[in-house]
């Protein structure tokens, strides 16, 4: 690609990999970075300034748990004064009323609270810790402030049947937005995939119920549903197109086009300690690699949808086919779609699939044998 790229619009700031939760579908890499490698307050603050200069509008503070950074208030204040819109994507767990007050005062624009379920037992099982009751308390505290609020329910086979109770939490909270985000299968989620994928029957009910919810909540809460793309006909426009809209900075300062990109062999990532964001955006090998259409093969390169989904997700192609340049195998036009269909058949054709319960030991009150996300050293 030789053409000049658009400006990036969003900066995903993975402030730390430390987290009090151990969610079985965590999007962090299996190899987590330790606290001693994390960028300093000053380095992050310089990154925010450079981001605004290169055209970024929004900074999403995430992790791990961004509140695990002792300098979180200062980071919010500095990102705001750089001119960015600041979202905090959090479990809410390390929060108390005093801290919340400081975050809002520092200029936090948008608070996104993750939920692992609607029932305490489910949520605690998924997150490997007691967290649910505290999240409900945080929702009560948030009612005192006029800041953006999004609830994020991460959906999978073990909690998708709690939809009605989730909607009740949403209504009670008065949130402006709720995301029902199906687990996507990378990292820890890929390791737990067979236990997480919902059945087709569960998914169909979910789609129908959320359509009704959209009407019921119109004007109050925007309802966003992210489908599990294994069940989709076409791939998702992953990260809005590779190197097209988004930059992700890891806790130690590597700049990635997508959080899962390190699984792709041969990509070279630049670090914000050594290069400006503009240099990285315009000329880093990793950002150039799948930018535009030159890398595409059939059927993508002549497909009408290539300007909508940009060939889908490179990391998913890598994980499922071993070839990062292949068409995303979730696409119904992909030569390697059978690899996805085999997985779905295992989920849907097993005994008990109709109830969504009897697969991989979720049945008969049996505990699922999860691989819980660990914490970095």
């Amino acid at each position: 690609m030789t053409s000049t790229p658009n400006n990036p619009l969003a900066l995903v700031a993975e402030l730390t990999h430390r987290c009090p939760l151990h969610c079985v579908y965590c999007s962090n890499p299996l190899e987590l970075q330790s606290r001693s490698n994390e960028l300093s307050t000053e380095a992050w603050s310089r990154v925010f300034k450079e981001a605004a200069e290169v055209g970024v509008l929004q900074a999403d503070f995430t992790g791990g748990e961004p509140l695990a950074r002792p300098d979180i208030v200062e980071l919010i204040r500095n990102a705001r004064s750089a001119g960015l819109y600041v979202s905090l994507i959090t479990s809410g767990l390390p929060l108390d009323e005093v801290k919340l007050d400081l975050l809002v005062d520092a200029g936090l624009d948008h608070f996104q609270l993750s939920f692992q379920g609607a029932r305490e037992e489910t949520a605690n099982d998924i997150s490997g810790t007691k967290s649910h009751q505290h999240k409900l308390r945080v929702l009560q505290w948030l009612k005192r402030y006029r800041i953006g609020l999004t609830l994020n329910f991460v959906i999978h086979r073990s909690n998708i049947d709690e939809l009605e109770e989730m909607l009740a939490i949403v209504e009670e909270s008065g949130a402006g937005c709720v995301e029902f985000a199906s687990v996507q299968y990378y990292g820890w989620a890929f390791a737990n995939r067979e236990k997480l994928l919902p059945t087709r029957q569960q998914l169909e009910y979910c789609v129908e119920r959320l359509k009704r919810a959209e009407n019921e909540l119109q004007g109050k809460t925007r309802v966003v549903f992210v489908v599990p793309d294994y069940y989709a006909k076409y791939p998702k426009p992953c990260v809005g197109g590779w190197g097209r809209k988004l930059m992700l900075i890891t806790p130690s300062g590597d700049a990635l086009p997508c959080h899962a990109a390190p699984i792709i062999p041969g990509l070279r990532f630049e670090n914000v300690r050594n290069h400006s964001l503009r240099e990285i955006w315009e000329s880093s090998n990793a950002f150039q690699r799948f930018r535009g259409e030159d890398w595409m093969r059939a059927p993508c390169k002549s497909c009408d949808r290539r300007t909508q989904d940009f060939g889908g997700c490179r990391c998913q192609a890598m994980l499922l086919t071993g070839d990062a340049s292949a068409t995303d195998p979730v696409c119904s036009l992909a030569p390697q779609r059978p690899k996805v269909d085999i997985v779905l058949a295992q989920i849907n054709d097993s005994p008990g699939a109709a109830s969504g319960s009897a697969v991989s030991g979720v049945a008969s009150g049996g505990k699922v044998d999860w691989l819980h996300r660990l914490n970095p050293a």
Partner: protein
Amino acid sequence: MSVDLNSRPRLAAGCRMGENNNQRVLLMPERALRLNGPSLEIVSRCDGKHSVTQIIGELQLIYSKAEPHKVEQDILGYLDLLQKERALDFEM
């Protein structure tokens, strides 16, 4: 859901105006809208003080060469869109 002419729209929680490279934008959770010409004139009046009727009246003056009814319809359509995006609260 239709827009009430007597209501006074204001930006919803988590929504604010911003600017980048001399481009005004409406910043919202997880998304942003470019504001140009008429859309900027409309959004900058969504301050909880102007009623919808007042916004229409003021824009009909600014865009006096356009057909007044068309201006009204465009404004109502745009406010409706912003409401669906959850970018506005309508105060009575």
